[in-house]
């Protein structure tokens, strides 16, 4: 084990600048006028470039520490507010997990920013777009460096806001506006549970810092206290808080049953889909679980060598939700025809893999897939954007075809992304990261079902991606206008990402498991002995066979066939019932519409009815009594001319001078009645006090 290095350094000292720069840039852009397009893009790209440089510096610092045998975990904490004798602290952290994520977010973000200058070139709200995009980058980087669950939550909500703003970017169309609202509200369902988990953690441990020289909430002392606190149903507070936080993660990361917003989020501009709804924000949930992993894992049995044996309730739930979502979303992806929706369901499915990887294999396994996925999925989305652009805003894959001829660069890079996503053996990063998850699943002591689910998911992934690529790039062209290749400013990011989609796998092979060693703080050996681990080669072989099977079967069905856009899908022909179910996304949206949303509307009606009829009715009854009292008062009061309820009020409004208004009218009566009541009651009180 490496020696911990927690002393503050120059690298951790400047860490706050990484999120601050894009946020400041966003603030400046917000004040710019719409025609200042160039300046806004320059500010956004410039600030993120600086953030990237600083991230690389921080990463280098951690790497140097790692190379010299130190496990870097530098934190800078400060008190935000004091309540009573306690205080609410915020802080940031530099450790391998944060460093890797920082570089990924800045790098992928920067490429997408550059791509956006081409993709959004003709949009009238170009400046606004870069304002929101910059704000998003800053908020996301805030999530990454947070050493306090509260700071993470605050950045997290800000990320949610920018996601909302960007999904609804084309606000004049009703469907993006509705999708934005749906995204915000669905993720907020998870977030309110997250909030509860957070206040509970705070109440139990007295701190929301993750690490604070032994006193943080993710350190042994506080975790021990959480484990010892029962929270009902035989669960410890640690477990329940972990599950509440996971609810937040599930909302953000589109896990079943909160996945419904993510496919609709594709209504946003494609660079947004690539950046927020594929590479970074949706992965924030996975990152959150990695960040609070000590809590999720609290109480697990450890072997003599410090390896986890078995699992915890919280991690078991994470695993099942992840594995279930992986297959569930992959099934839906098979029967979609919108190029971006296929990728969206694929993202949901891959996020399920990451969650399952975290649940069964630990932080490094889940995070490695997060990083590789960020590269190849943003590549695929930007490739899809290029296709949509080239086909004149067409998104239906049935109206594409044969684009490999017209869009060669897009085709080649897309093919790389597709093979990486499928996990094509050896040369693609997705293979190695997915393999790590499958291997962990195979060794998981709780159950074997997740392993089979994930293998089935891999088959489906290869199938739906081959189907999509066949429809888009092969066969005959079925569009209306001639397709054209995208400008270089859009293609360059694709080529760079394609390079990483292949090469990144090298840092996480069994021969050189550098990524795991770096995250976990031990030395990385190089050698082919890593392949000798029991069952490893068998898993690799099995996953390769499954991927090839998926590719071949899909190619046999869809590959290079001349079809018409109106033709039913080959699978629809073969099994119409199942196809309808998958195409209808298992009718989850309809189910929610008939239950949750219907209840919301109905209960709102009930609340309104209660107010108007029940409470209002009681008040009306009391008013009636008053009115009768006033009728009685009429006998005594000659000033009271007209008994009408509103008539007197109208007089008050339209009568002569102010004094005369006060002199007459109903208020007078009320005041008198009240005064009378007061006098009577006072008399009773005085009388009773004598006795």
């Amino acid at each position: 084990m490496f020696t911990p290095q927690i002393a503050e350094s120059a690298a951790s000292g400047i860490l706050w600048l990484i999120p601050a720069l894009p946020i400041v840039a966003s603030g400046i852009i917000a004040l710019l006028k719409q025609p200042m397009r160039k300046l806004s893009a320059t500010l956004a790209i410039g600030s993120l470039s600086c953030s990237l440089l600083l991230s690389l510096f921080a990463f280098g610092h951690v790497l140097v520490g790692w190379a010299s045998g130190a496990a870097v975990r530098e934190t800078i904490n400060f008190t935000w507010i004091r309540v009573g004798t306690a205080h609410v602290d915020l802080g940031w952290i530099l450790d391998p997990l944060a460093a890797v994520m920082l570089v990924m977010v800045c790098f992928v973000g920067l490429l997408i920013f550059i791509y956006s200058t081409g993709y959004m070139a003709h949009d009238e709200n170009f400046t606004r777009f870069f304002c929101f995009l910059s704000l998003f980058a800053g908020a996301m980087l805030g999530v990454v460096i947070a050493n306090s669950l509260l700071l993470l939550f605050m950045s997290w909500e800000l990320v949610g806001l920018t996601s909302y703003l960007l999904i609804g970017f084309w606000y004049q169309k009703p469907s993006p506006a509705a999708a934005a609202k749906k995204a915000f509200l669905t993720t907020r369902i998870g977030d309110v549970f997250f909030l509860l988990g957070m206040v509970w953690l705070f109440a139990q441990t007295g701190t929301l810092l993750f690490y604070n020289a032994g006193m943080g909430s993710m350190e042994a002392l506080k975790l021990g206290g959480l484990l010892a606190t029962p929270a009902g149903l035989g669960l410890s507070a640690a477990t329940v808080i972990g599950l509440l936080i996971f609810a937040g993660a599930a909302g953000k990361s589109g896990q079943f049953p909160l996945h419904v917003w993510l496919p609709d989020a594709m209504e946003g501009p494609t660079p947004v889909s690539a950046l927020i709804h594929a590479a970074t924000m949706v992965a924030a949930g996975v990152y959150l679980i990695a960040r609070v992993y000590p809590l999720m894992q609290a109480g697990v049995q450890l072997s003599a060598s410090g390896e986890a044996v078995g699992s915890t309730v919280a991690l078991t739930v994470v695993t099942w939700v992840g594995a279930g979502t992986a297959v569930f979303a992959a099934l839906i992806a098979v029967a979609q025809n919108d190029i971006k929706r296929i990728l969206a369901y694929s993202t949901v499915s891959q996020l399920g893999y990451m969650m399952a990887g975290l649940g069964m294999g630990g932080v490094a396994v889940g995070m490695f897939h997060l990083i590789t996925h960020a590269f190849f999925k943003s590549l695929l989305f930007m490739g899809a954007g290029s296709v949509i652009h080239g086909c004149h805003e067409e998104q239906d894959i049935r109206r594409m075809g044969a684009l490999k001829i017209d869009m060669p660069w897009t085709f080649i890079t897309y093919a790389v992304g597709m093979l990486a996503l499928c996990g094509f053996p050896l040369f693609f990063s997705g293979f190695w990261s997915k393999d790590g998850i499958l291997e962990a699943a195979q060794h998981w002591s709780v159950a074997k079902t997740p392993f089979y689910l994930l293998v089935f998911g891999a088959l489906l992934t290869a199938f739906y991606m081959t189907r999509q690529v066949s429809y888009v790039f092969f066969g005959n062209y079925r569009g209306h206008k001639e397709a054209h290749e995208s400008p270089p400013v859009m293609l360059l990011p694709l080529v760079i990402l394609a390079f990483f989609a292949m090469g990144l796998g090298l840092v996480g092979t069994p021969a050189w498991p550098w990524f795991r060693a770096f995250l976990e703080g031990h030395a990385a050996g190089f050698g082919f002995a890593g392949f000798n681990e029991p069952g490893l080669l068998a898993v690799m072989a099995a996953s390769s066979v499954v991927v090839l099977l998926g590719l071949v079967v899909a190619w046999r069905i869809y590959g290079n066939k001349p079809i018409k856009a109106e033709d039913p899908d080959a699978l629809e022909h073969a099994m119409p019932t199942i196809w309808t179910l998958l195409e209808g996304k298992f009718y989850i949206d309809e189910l929610y519409g008939a239950t949750v949303i219907a209840f919301y509307a109905w209960w709102a009606g009930v609340a309104d009815w209660l107010d108007r009829r029940v409470w209002g009715g009681i008040v009306a009854g009391v008013a009636w009594l008053f009115r009768e009292g006033a009728q009685l008062g009429r006998l005594f009061d000659v000033n009271w001319v007209d008994g009408g309820f509103d008539k007197g009020c109208e007089e008050l409004a339209t009568g002569g001078g102010l004094m005369s208004r006060i002199e007459s009218g109903r208020v007078q009566i009320y005041l008198r009645l009240l005064a009378l009541a007061v006098v009577l009651l006072t008399a009773i009180l005085i009388w009773s006090s004598r006795g």
């Binding site: 935000w80 507010i81 004091r82 309540v83 009573g84 004798t85 306690a86 939550f153 605050m154 950045s155 909500e157 800000l158 806001l161 609804g168 606000y171 004049q172 169309k173 009703p174 506006a177 509705a178 609202k181 915000f184 509200l185 907020r188 369902i189 309110v192 909030l195 509860l196 206040v199 509970w200 705070f202 109440a203 919301y600 509307a601 209960w603 709102a604 609340a607 309104d608 209660l610 107010d611 409470w615 009681i618 008040v619 008013a623 008053f626 509103d646 009020c649 109208e650 008050l652 409004a653 102010l658 109903r666 208020v667 009320y670 009240l674 007061v678 009651l681 009180l685 005085i686 006090s689």
Partner: protein, 505 residues
Amino acid sequence: MNGIPLLTLLTVLPLVGAAIALLSGRHARAVALVTTLAALALALLVWTKLPSDGSIGLIERTAWAPSLGIEYHLGVDALGALMLVLSAIVTLMSVDAAHRVHKQPGLYFALVLMLESGLFGSFTALNFFHWFLFWELSLIPAFFLIKLWGGAKRGPAATQFFVYTMAGSVALLLSFLAIFLATGSMDFGQLGEMANSGALDKAVTAHLGPVMMTLAIGVLAGFAVKVPMAPFHTWLPAAYAEAPSPVTMLLTGAMSKMGVYGLLRIALPIFGHQIAQIRTPLLVLSVVTVVMGAWAAAAQKDLKRVFAYSSVNHLGYCLLGIFALAVPASGLAVQTSQAAALNGVILQMFNHGITAAALFWFIAMMQERSGGERWIDHFGGLRKPAPVLAGMMGIVLFSSLGLPGLNGFVGEFLIFRGVFPLSWVAATVSILGLLVTAAVILTVIQKVFTGPVPEKWASFPDMHGGERLAMAPVIGLMFLLGLLPQLVVDSINPTVMNLLAHWRF
């Protein structure tokens, strides 16, 4: 008393302004602006002069009618001073927003200033008689402002508002008369000490029998109407909707805080023990206020009624925090939770005041531009013709939703932090309110600002320079308090500790 009687000065200032405004006709708004600006400056001065230990400072005390236990006794701690600042800001905003009063502007602004004086008086008084006078004084101008300048159904709305609040006031008054008869004192501080030592209970029981709980309920009823707490809130939607929007700003921004303030200054110190005994039903009503307030907002079609109910929901969090903390303190953990909840409540009072006032200001602007339109479904796509209005109002709406980084979040977070360990059921059910509020607010944004622009709104005027300039500091304050809440919390936390140390449940 040392030197200048700042609090008296602050309370008298708007009355002087009101007298001048009444006589200055068309220039009344300018007079009101000057007066409210000066009042804000004075209120800020008061804020800076608070004692650092959180106790009550700037005390002014003279005999008034000693035989009746009536004293002229003023003083503020951070809670009172924060409410003074809030009232001053909200009144200033309201005067700023009311630039279209053509009917008797002199009278209108005189009434607004009288209302401000009533607010100042009730946030500084430490003797029941004196306090009650101002409590009622603020009611009368509010009634006439609704009655004379309100919307189509102003008559019934004003009457309902008046009678309802009056009924609550009578309950309050009777309870205090009983206490006076039993103790011969009307001083809040003295009564609080007697309550702590048990002398109050003994005296009341000796004179009147076992009626302490009845008196507590009477006092609570008075405040429950004012805040309001379900089911005593039905006067509110009508009053908020029918009052002219600048007056609604005053009602929701400042006057609704009188009830919460009363609970903290009067009910908890004197009736803490009784409140702790009926804590469960009070918590149930608070949760109902939070959840049903939000849900009733979801059913509304009139923008003003939406935010009227949303105000009920937001003040419900204050009630939740107040009643959750009414448990006998045992140990540091409970005390920390109580302190968190109380800090949260006070922050929430201030933040809700600013945010709700700003929201009704925006509604006033929208009404001006649309000829009085308030129906949500009749708007649409306004972001296109009025991007600045959409952007600025969007910020305020997200502040109301409780987005971190803006002011609304901190108070709600601290309230939940405090309430959860004290009553996890109440906290858990109340998060439904957070969800439904978000749905309500996003629906408003969706229906008003997005989608295609209807023909009639195609040239909807955006905010002009003056309006932007007026709103900018308000929005700046929202960011400031969202990012650096310690600016306020550092001052209110000592008061919170001081209050909690004096309360016995």
